[in-house]
C-alpha cells in the first residue's frame, strides 16, 4: 500500500486521493490566445523529474500540492496550495462589456 501524506489529514492510503495534473501557471483566460489556452489545458511536460502536482483528498474534498518523482514515485513533500497561490484569481469574463 502506498502512503501519501495529506497536509490536512495526515498519512493516508493513496487510493483515497485523486490525481489532478501538473501545477502550471494559468494564462489569463480573458486575454490569452486560443493556442495559449490549449497549451495550458492539454500539453504537459511529462518528463522524468520531480514535479509539482495537484492532488485531491476525496473524502474531505481538500486540494493540495505534492512534489513527486515521476520515475521512483517518491513523494518528496506535500503542502497547502496557499504556499504558492496567495492572491485571488479573477475568473469573471467581460461579458457585460462585450454585450
Amino acid at each position: 500500500m502506498k502512503i501519501l501524506t495529506c497536509p490536512l489529514n495526515g498519512p493516508r492510503n493513496i487510493s483515497e486521493f485523486v490525481y489532478g495534473g501538473e501545477v502550471k501557471d494559468m494564462p489569463d483566460p480573458n486575454t490569452c490566445s486560443d493556442k495559449a489556452w490549449a497549451d495550458y489545458v492539454f500539453y504537459h511536460d511529462n518528463l522524468i523529474q520531480i514535479v509539482k502536482e495537484w492532488w485531491l483528498h476525496a473524502p474531505s474534498g481538500y486540494w493540495f500540492i505534492a512534489e513527486r518523482h515521476t520515475a521512483s514515485d517518491e513523494i518528496i513533500k506535500t503542502y497547502d496550495p496557499s504556499e504558492i497561490y496567495n492572491t485571488r484569481i479573477e475568473f469573471s469574463t467581460q461579458q457585460e462589456e462585450r454585450a
Binding site: D34, D39, F42, H44
Partner: protein, 415 residues
C-alpha cells in the same frame, strides 16, 4: 543419433547464417534517408511498408532495448474496430482487414484468431452507447450487433449475469474481434523489412535530436551521431521525453498499464469479454491461460512496477464476472508505459519540427493499429510530408483547434 541429424550439425551453413530471421548486427552508417526511432510493432511496420511499397530502403530502425520489447511485448493483443467516431472506426477497420491477411503476407504464422469480442452493458446509458457504436461500425463494413442477455448466455455460458449487483442488460457483439501473437507481428515486420535492406539496430538509444532552422538533420545515439533526411518517432510511453529533445511538448501523459495471467486450464472461453463498468476484460489464450487487464494506473509514472492495489481491484471484478476464477492461480503480472491523450485517440502526422514525424499517443489501444500505422506512416514519409486522409483527424494540432476525436467511451477498459 540419426545420421540425418548429424549432417545438419556438421553442415557449415546450417542453421545460423543462412537461415537467421534477422541479419547479424552491423555498424551504423554516417547517414540514412529515414531514421525510425523505436523497434516496436509500429516502427518496424513503418519500415516494412517503406521498403515494400515505396522502395525506400536506406532506413535505420533504432531501438534502445530489443526488437518488440516495449509495449508490443506487453499488450493483451485485443484487435477490434468497434469504436465510436467515424474517424476512429474507419481507421481501425482498415487495420483489422490488414491483420486478417498478415500471416499470408509474412509467410509466418501470427496466430490470428477471430474469436469475437463481447462488451457488456450494465446501465441504460451503456445500452444507448452500444446501439450507436453498432450502427457506426456496420456503416463502415464491420460486423457488430447489439445482443440481449439470452444471446450472451449462449455465447458465454459460464458468465455471471449479475456481477457486483449490476445486472447485464445487453452486449455489444463484435464478430471481427480477434487476437494474435503480438511478438510474431513485430518479428514478421522486422524480418520482411530487413530482407528488403532496412537496417535494424538494437541496443541503440537515441539520446538527442539535431534540429537546424526548424528542421531535423540528425540524431545522437549511444553509438555515435547520424545524419538523416527525416525521423519517425514511434516510442510509445517515452514519446514526451524525445519530443522534449526535439524542442516541443506533447498533449500526452505517461501512465503505467498493468495486466496479468493465470495458470492454463482447458479451453472454455472463446470470445474476448470486457466490462467497462467493472473496469475489467478477460480472455483465454490459445495456451489456456486467462489474461486479464483493466484501465491505466490512477496517476502518471515512468515505472513498470506492478501494484497490489491494482491486483485487488481488478481481481475482485474479474471474479464477479467469472466466480470460479477465485480458485485459479496467478502466474505472471507485468506493466507497460502507456502514452495517454485526453481524447483517447492517437497523435499521428506532422510535428512542430520539419521532417520529424510523430506516431504517438497510442496509450492502451495501439497494438490493433500496427499494420495501418505502418502503411500510413510510410505514405507520409514517402510523400515528403503529405498527410494521408485516413490519419488527418489525428494531427497533433487538433488540440489547438479544440477538434478532438473522442474515443474515451469506446476505449475504457477494452483497449
Amino acid at each position: 543419433m540419426p545420421f540425418s541429424l548429424l549432417k545438419y550439425g556438421l553442415n557449415k551453413d546450417y542453421p545460423f547464417e543462412k537461415h537467421a530471421d534477422l541479419p547479424a548486427p552491423c555498424e551504423l552508417k554516417p547517414s540514412y534517408d529515414v531514421v525510425i526511432v523505436g523497434a516496436g510493432g509500429h516502427g518496424v511496420a513503418t519500415a516494412y511498408y517503406l521498403a515494400k511499397y515505396h522502395g525506400i530502403t536506406n532506413v535505420a530502425v533504432l531501438e534502445k532495448g530489443y526488437l518488440g520489447g516495449g509495449n508490443t511485448a506487453r499488450n493483451t493483443a485485443v484487435i477490434r474496430s468497434n469504436y465510436l467516431t467515424n474517424e476512429g472506426v474507419k481507421f481501425y477497420s482498415e487495420s483489422v482487414k490488414l491483420f486478417q491477411q498478415l500471416s499470408n503476407e509474412f509467410d509466418f504464422n501470427i496466430m490470428y484468431s477471430e474469436r469475437g469480442q463481447l462488451t457488456l452493458a450494465h446501465t441504460d446509458a451503456a445500452v444507448r452507447g452500444f446501439r450507436q457504436r453498432a450502427e457506426i461500425n456496420k456503416h463502415f463494413g464491420g460486423r457488430t450487433e447489439l445482443i440481449d442477455p439470452q444471446q450472451i448466455k449462449e455465447l458465454v455460458p459460464c458468465l455471471n449475469m449479475n456481477p457486483a449487483d449490476m445486472p447485464i442488460l445487453a452486449g455489444l457483439w463484435h464478430m471481427d474481434g480477434a487476437t494474435a501473437r503480438h511478438d510474431a507481428v513485430a518479428w514478421g515486420y522486422a524480418k520482411g523489412a530487413t530482407q528488403r535492406g532496412v537496417e535494424l539496430h538494437q541496443l541503440t538509444e537515441v539520446t538527442d535530436i539535431d534540429v537546424e532552422n526548424g528542421k531535423v538533420v540528425g540524431v545522437k545515439t549511444n553509438r555515435g551521431n547520424i545524419k538523416c533526411g527525416c525521423v519517425v518517432q514511434a516510442i510509445a510511453g517515452h514519446s514526451s521525453l524525445l519530443a522534449a529533445k526535439a524542442g516541443f511538448k506533447l498533449p500526452i501523459s505517461t501512465f503505467p498499464l498493468q495486466a496479468m495471467v493465470t495458470q492454463p486450464v482447458k479451453p472454455f472461453l472463446n470470445p474476448l469479454v470486457s466490462s467497462p463498468s467493472l473496469h475489467c476484460y478477460v480472455q483465454q489464450t490459445s495456451r489456456g491461460e486467462l489474461v486479464f487487464g483493466g484501465g491505466s494506473d490512477p496517476y502518471p509514472l515512468y515505472n513498470s512496477r506492478s501494484t497490489l492495489d491494482l491486483k485487488e481491484s481488478l481481481l475482485a471484478n474479474a471474479v464477479e464476472l467469472f466466480p470460479f476464477m477465485a480458485n485459479m492461480r496467478l502466474m505472471r503480472q507485468w506493466a507497460g508505459l502507456t502514452d495517454m491523450t485526453s481524447d483517447y485517440s492517437p497523435i499521428m502526422g506532422l510535428s512542430p519540427v520539419d521532417n520529424y514525424y510523430l506516431d504517438a499517443g497510442w496509450g492502451t489501444w495501439g497494438f490493433k493499429s500496427t499494420p495501418i500505422v505502418g502503411q500510413t506512416m510510410a505514405q507520409l514519409v514517402a510523400s515528403g510530408g503529405q498527410v494521408p486522409d485516413l490519419i488527418k483527424p489525428f494531427a497533433m494540432d487538433r488540440f489547438d483547434s479544440f477538434a478532438q476525436v473522442n474515443e474515451m467511451g469506446a476505449t475504457a477498459a477494452s483497449h
